[in-house]
């Protein structure tokens, strides 16, 4: 071995150096000499670099020789001892490790030697005062010693009870290790070494519970000291290791199998009484029987009863502390520890079962499925926790809540006897805790106004897009964080699962809810909220079970009746209605916000549970959901969005549009009901959305609702906000009507049945189509066949009245007769209906137009602007039946003109735009009115004054050439907008009247126009205008 010789060459000088000191005669030997220390250090540091098992035994013995002689000296200084220990450690590591290299004799010598070196006295009194390095070296050598020993064939006999000497050193070295462990809390590395040494010793070398049982109490108390070292947060690795070792020894000592321990139950009372007499201290539930292998066994029954209570005390002292640390590694180790103990020692350590079960529940883990075997304790535990729920919730102890639901879940899965009083307790406690919490919060924040936003939110943007963007983190109850809420929710879900069967849960929920009939709103809300969670639990649980069943193919296909869901929905409906009535016309309070959120949350939950079966229920619940999409409260809106999304995903492939479209009838009926009850909140916004989505085709079927809105206008015209909303709604409806009946891009030309005596469009024709239709012979097939039936009176009522009128006109029923008579009075030769808009819809337009006319005198400016916009929209549509439009125009003319005279230009602008449309579509019908309009403007319009020069002294001519007047001037934006609209109106009027206008007026008008509109644009209108415009320009 070349390498060995090379090593030898390296080591030899060091050993020689050391030998010089070691072999000094005792009288000259200085135990604390520096030379010696240096020699030791040099050798030690050399050895440090060598790999494990790289030294031959011979070489090791060579190195060991000076050490042995050194030890034969009468004493040795601390540092020197430390290095001697280190060198021995290295030797064990380098050559005396693998099987057969560590002779038994050597081992037997080495162990007492080492233990003596580390601690001379049996009580280890000095060891704790030694420096840290010293302790570390001590631990190291023992660890190496046991590491080497475990690979030797004699390891089991090494500490046999037949050799008292070895037992003595065993005891000594264990106490040393424990002493080191306790005293090196500042050095986790050493602690871990000590623990590892103990582990190897117990587990791999001794491996006998009987022997270990002797040292167990000392170990346990040391370990507990480690866990509980005051004021220090013990290193987690140390904790983990300690738990591991503790677990090993406890398992070895208290193993049920080797102890053959059984728990026996009493068969009769006498037995119990005798037991009680014999063991007055022992819990009657803990009668344990053991079968001893030999009478001399240390671990007897009385030993067991005695020590196990110590163990329990130990466990109870450190487990809670470890649980509090919430360290993942510790949690893992603790889980392992606890479940192992439960698995292997449940009889021997039966007194610890409750603690262990409780620990596993707190950890919420059970890797060996031990909990189902301890249902009794689990039940106790759950009951205990349930009783404290009130406190737990108040302290927001989420961990406890989670543990409780974990425990409940296990009970659900494993316990066939469901305890419903427990469920009621849990539910009741939660309700109580939450209620007092919320009530106090709400009363504190009584005057707190929720942040409101306009109800037109859903009209503004893309409904679907906005809904998709909703997040998931909004808390439903004002006092609780989303996390805590979810945790309590989880607990309730477990409770729901525990109910097990629909009928049971239904019973439970129904009683809970019916108990609330006289409670306050908060309590009702909370009951609803809890129930919603509970059903989530029941059905989610069962559905996942069903998935498993699908694999197992039990053939049992459960059909749900969803009874609890219906109970909840009913309650939900009641609550929502209660709220709607209270809330109408007021701003929302915090409490109402919560109630609404819970209602929506419940609807969503039920939808999630019932899936397709929820569809028929939409009849009652969809409106609430959709309405609250427009809620002023962002929180409510969030839940409405989430709920709509769930409904659409469950039933309509995720399309909100489809959801609304499929239920237009239900929504409209809800709207109609509300309107009839005089409730207007948000109704028009929702209605507008529906109209947009459904299109006019569907709107036709609910004309009655539009009629109701007209009725509301009759009564509530004083409320400008409401009126604006209605006119916004009309705008939507009219746009839909236009989409339906008039092709938007088709230019709305005047019908061929009306002739305009306009100068430049002969016979009023403006396009070729009209010419063709005039030239072309009327096609007889175009004439609608006149049914002879339609000539009949359309109802008996008419018929009857006509008869009465014929027969006895001076009947006493005259009044009625006349009333009816007017209706059936043959309305002059009826005009042919040529508009593409059917009469019914046309009437709606007229009605809107009419109401607009009435409300144009309303003081609210935004309302008037809105009305003018709607009118502008209606005029072209009315013109499709030209002759029917004219009386309306005549009616409305004056009101619109009034608006143009306003000094507020923001209202003048829409008025001018509207009037322009009117003039455009009425043609020469309004010519005379237009002339009058100009005169009135000249007198009264403040807007016109901006651009028009006052007539000078009745000369009849405008001062046109004034130098300060330049064409195309600059105006403030509002004025400018109004002026452009005004000029547009003037040009429209000029086009219609043209040749009928006196030249001076025309010039006057055009002069106003070209100041705001480019002259070129004006000139393009017609030749005549061009002449005037360019003349004006020239004179300028």
């Amino acid at each position: 071995m070349a390498s060995q010789s090379a090593l030898f060459q390296e080591l030899r000088p060091l050993c020689v150096d050391l030998s010089r000191q070691a072999f000094l005669p005792p009288n000259t030997f200085d135990p604390s000499s520096l030379t010696l220390l240096n020699a030791l250090k040099r050798l030690e540091s050399k050895l440090t670099f060598y790999h494990d098992e790289s030294l031959s035994q011979k070489l090791a013995e060579y190195v060991f020789v000076p050490i042995v002689s050194l030890l034969k000296q009468s004493g040795l200084g601390d540092s020197q001892t430390e290095y001697v220990l280190r060198i021995i450690t290295h030797l064990l590591r380098l050559s005396w490790r693998s099987k057969g290299t560590f002779a038994k004799e050597l081992a037997e010598q080495l162990l007492p030697l080492v233990t003596f070196l580390i601690s001379q006295d049996k009580e280890n009194s000095k060891i704790s005062e030694k420096p840290l390095e010293y302790k570390s070296a001590g631990c190291g050598v023992l660890l190496q010693f046991f590491t080497s020993l475990r690979d030797q064939s004699y390891k089991f006999q090494f500490f046999s009870s037949s050799k008292p000497k070895s037992l003595l050193s065993l005891g000594h070295c264990i106490t040393i290790l424990l002493g080191l462990l306790e005293s090196t809390s500042q050095d986790p590395q050493t602690q871990i070494q000590a623990l590892e040494a103990l582990r190897i010793l117990y587990q791999e070398i001794i491996g006998d519970g009987e022997i270990i049982s002797f040292v167990l109490p000392g170990n346990v108390s040391s370990f507990v000291k480690v866990f509980l070292s005051p004021g220090v947060n013990v290193n987690y690795k140390v904790v983990v290791k300690t738990l591991q070792v503790l677990s090993i020894i406890l398992r070895m000592v208290y193993d049920d199998f080797t102890l053959d321990a059984h728990r026996s139950r009493f068969t009769d009372v006498n037995e119990l009484i005798t037991f009680k007499e014999e063991h007055p201290d022992v819990d009657v539930n803990r009668r344990i029987e053991m079968h001893l292998e030999s009478p001399s066994q240390h671990r007897s029954l009385s030993w067991l009863l005695g020590t196990s209570s110590q163990v329990k005390r130990a466990l109870d002292s450190f487990i809670p502390k470890l649980l509090k640390r919430q360290n993942q590694e510790i949690t893992d180790a603790l889980t392992d520890f606890t479940s192992n103990l439960l698995k292997h020692s449940k009889n021997s350590l039966s007194n610890c079962q409750y603690s262990l079960v409780s620990t596993l529940v707190s950890l919420r883990r059970d890797p060996y499925s031990q909990l189902p075997e301890h249902l009794e304790y689990l039940q106790q535990l759950v009951e205990g926790k349930a009783g404290k729920l009130n406190n737990i919730i108040k302290l927001e102890n989420e961990q406890e809540l989670l543990s409780l639901s974990y425990a409940l879940d296990i009970l659900v899965q494993c316990d066939p006897t469901k305890d419903f009083s427990l469920l009621k307790d849990i539910g009741g406690n939660i309700l109580e805790a939450l209620e007092s919490d919320i009530t106090s919060t709400l009363s504190r924040r009584r005057n707190f106004k929720i942040t409101e936003q306009s109800s037109n939110v859903i009209l503004a943007g893309d409904l679907e897009a906005e809904i998709v963007h909703c997040q998931d983190s909004v808390a439903i109850l004002p006092t609780m964080s989303k996390r805590l809420e979810d945790t309590i929710g989880k607990l309730l879900m477990s409770a729901g699962r525990m109910a097990g069967q629909e009928s049971q849960l239904s019973l439970l929920i129904e009683t809970t809810l019916s108990e609330q009939s006289c409670s306050n709103t908060i309590r009702k809300t909370l009951a609803l909220w809890s129930s919603a969670w509970a059903i989530r639990g029941l059905y989610n649980g069962q559905q996942s079970n069903n998935e498993m069943n699908a694999f197992l193919d039990t053939g049992e296909d459960e059909e749900y009746t969803y009874e609890p869901c219906y109970a909840i929905l009913d309650f939900c409906n009641g609550l929502a209605q209660e709220l709607t009535v209270v809330q109408e016309g007021r701003s929302m309070s915090l409490q109402e916000e919560t109630v609404l959120s819970v209602v929506l949350f419940t609807i969503e939950s039920v939808c999630q549970v019932m899936h397709k079966d929820f569809e028929p229920e939409l009849i009652e619940y969809l409106y609430t959901t959709v309405e609250n999409l427009a809620s002023p409260s962002p929180i409510v809106r969030h839940f409405a969005q989430s709920c709509s999304l769930t409904i659409s995903q469950t039933l309509y492939n995720g399309s909100i549009q489809q959801m609304l479209l499929s239920n237009v009838d239900y929504l409209v009926d809800s709207i109609s009901t509300r309107l009839n009850l005089g409730m207007t909140e948000r109704v028009s916004a929702v209605f507008a959305v529906i109209c947009k989505i459904a299109g006019y085709e569907t709107i036709e079927t609910f004309k009655d609702v539009i009629e109701t809105i007209f009725k509301m206008l009759d009564y509530y015209h004083g409320y400008d906000e409401l009126c604006i909303q209605f006119f916004q709604l009309f705008e939507v409806i009219i746009l839909e009507m236009k989409k339906r009946f008039l092709q938007v891009d088709e230019q709305l030309t005047l019908g061929s049945d009306h002739l305009v005596t306009n100068a430049y469009s002969p016979w009023g024709m403006t396009n070729v189509k009209q010419l063709v239709s005039i030239l072309g012979k009327p096609n007889p097939e175009d004439e609608p066949l006149v049914d002879e039936y339609t000539k009949e009176p359309s109802s008996f009522q008419e018929y009857f009245d006509s008869k009465i009128q014929e027969a006895d006109s001076d009947d006493e029923d005259e009044e009625h007769a006349e009333e009816e008579g007017t209706e059936m009075e043959p309305l002059a030769p009826k005009e042919k209906w040529s508009s593409p808009i059917p009469l019914d819809s046309y009437r709606i337009l007229l009605e809107v137009f009419h109401y607009g006319d009435r409300l144009l005198t309303h003081p609210s400016k935004p309302l008037r602007v809105q009305i003018l916009q709607v009118m502008e929209l209606i005029v072209p549509m009315l013109s499709t039946q030209y002759n029917s439009m004219l009386p309306q125009i005549a009616n409305v003319w004056e009101s619109v003109v009034q608006c143009t005279l306003s000094s507020d230009y923001t209202i003048v602008k829409p008025a001018c735009l509207c009037l322009r449309k009117i003039i455009h579509y009425s043609g020469d019908f309004v010519a005379k009115r237009f002339f009058e309009l100009w005169d009135r403007w000249c007198q009264g319009s403040s807007l016109l004054k901006e651009v028009r020069v006052a007539r000078s002294g009745g000369s009849g001519k405008a001062e046109v050439g004034n130098s300060q007047m330049s064409t195309h001037r600059k105006f403030p934006p509002v004025t400018k907008d109004a002026l452009v609209a005004l000029a547009g109106l003037l040009l429209e009027g000029i086009t219609v009247t043209e040749l009928m206008l006196p030249d001076t007026t025309l010039t006057d008008m055009l002069y106003c126009c070209i100041q705001v509109i480019p002259a070129d644009t004006v000139a393009e209108t017609s030749l005549l205008l061009a002449d005037v415009v360019w003349t004006l320009k020239d004179t300028n």
Binding site: Y562, E563, T701, E792, S795, E819, E823, L846, N883, S884
Partner: protein, 397 residues
């Protein structure tokens, strides 16, 4: 007085006046259904629980639906203003099984009686003269099976032998207004206010068993065959109560003078009536002990048997009146505020009785949700009103 009550819900489908309503309580259905017909030829079958149309059908050329009658075997008889009586399958296919031309230049409905499997009898107005009655028999399998059993029956002659009260200046009964059937007897209401009940006797003769003049001279507007008696309404403010007080005894020997016979025991006219709080009662229905009356003025009232007013339904219109007529209407301008009927017209009326379906088979329906809704729906009786604007309003009674 009770304020006007609002409908519990409204069905919206028709775009024109709802001209007839018919509740169907079919044994194979878990809940009652409703059929509605409108002025533009649309017929709609409704699921009253889901409040949605099950299916709908439009008769070609969109004539006004005049009347609906359910005949056995899932067939619906539909009379329209284009002079057609059609038998349609009600299973959603709306397949036409039979058709007969019927004179509809009047206000009368029709009456179909089932005689035997496939055999039916139709009672309706005469093809030329609405004042007389035709009776047909036919088999559904063949259009040629149609046979006119009686042609142009007029009752004036027959009843003129009865002693009329003083002050009656009567030379005819006027056109037929309404047909109905009660305990096998066919009743028809006449324009002159007479209600006549008759039987068809085996040898092809017609036997008049009942005559009432309670509404004279006002026309009969509606007849309703109730449980205990027949009710009639007219333009006056009373409802006639008609009962067959004379027993159906063995056939006596008649004076064989014409195809129309007058029952021997029948000597006097009945004139039982009750005063009601409204007049112009265009529709009358009775469910259990509630009387439903609708007037021409859009008012529907509910009274108990003592004619105590219980509820009042109406649907008001907005104040603003629009007129698309370019000529304007001078007369209406004068009286515009006074003349306008403030309510939407009631164009049909139907009642749904809660006891109607007490032992119905809805219980077998497995779906709890559906069962709950059906139960809730059948808890009460319903007044169903078809309006001129195409809505069908449901009022819980």
């Amino acid at each position: 007085m009770n304020p006007i009550q609002l409908p519990e819900y409204t069905l919206r489908f028709h775009k024109s006046s709802v001209t007839d309503l018919l509740v169907l309580d079919l044994p194979q259905e878990v809940a009652p259904l409703l059929v509605s017909g409108d002025a533009t030829g649309k017929i709609c079958l409704w699921d009253l629980i889901r409040r949605r149309p099950i299916s709908s059908h439009c008769i070609e050329n969109e004539p006004q639906i005049v009347a609906l009658q359910y005949v056995d075997d899932g067939l619906l008889a539909v009379l329209d203003k284009q002079h057609k009586l059609r038998f349609l399958k009600i299973d959603g296919s709306w397949e036409q099984v039979y058709e007969i031309p019927v004179n509809t230049l009047n206000f009368a409905n029709f009456l179909v009686q089932r005689l035997d499997t496939g055999w039916y009898r139709l009672i309706c107005c005469n093809t030329q003269d609405s004042e007389s009655i035709d009776i047909y028999e036919f088999h559904l399998s063949s259009l040629h099976s149609l046979k006119r059993v009686h042609k142009g029956l007029k009752f004036y002659q027959a009843i003129s032998s009865l002693i009329l009260p003083a002050g009656f200046k009567l030379d005819k009964l006027g056109i037929v207004m309404k047909f109905t059937e009660w305990h096998g007897v066919i009743f028809c209401g006449m324009e002159s206010g007479f209600v006549i009940g008759f039987n068809l006797i085996d040898d092809g003769q017609v036997e008049i068993v009942y005559v009432s003049h309670v509404h004279y001279p006002n026309p009969i507007l509606d007849l309703y065959p109730g449980k205990d008696n027949i009710l009639s309404s007219s333009t006056d403010n009373k409802i006639g109560i008609h009962d067959l007080n004379c027993q159906q005894d063995e056939r006596p020997n008649f004076e064989r003078q014409s195809p129309i016979l007058l029952k021997k025991e029948l000597h006097s006219l009945s004139a039982n009536f009750k005063q009601v709080p409204i007049s112009e009662v265009a529709h009358i229905k009775k469910i259990e002990n509630l009387l439903l009356l609708s007037s021409w003025f859009g008012e529907t009232v509910v009274t108990d048997e003592q004619i105590e007013l219980l509820a009042k339904f109406s649907k008001s219109k907005s104040i603003v009146e629009v007129n698309e007529n370019p000529q304007g209407n001078l007369q209406s301008n004068n009286t515009s505020s006074k003349s306008k009927n403030p309510n939407c017209k009631v164009s049909s009326l139907e009642g749904l009785s809660s006891s109607n379906s007490k032992d119905s088979n809805y219980v077998i329906s497995t779906n709890v949700g559906q069962r709950r809704r059906i139960e809730r729906f059948l808890q009460n009786s319903w007044c169903i009103i078809g309006y001129d604007d195409g809505n069908i309003a449901f009022h819980r009674l």
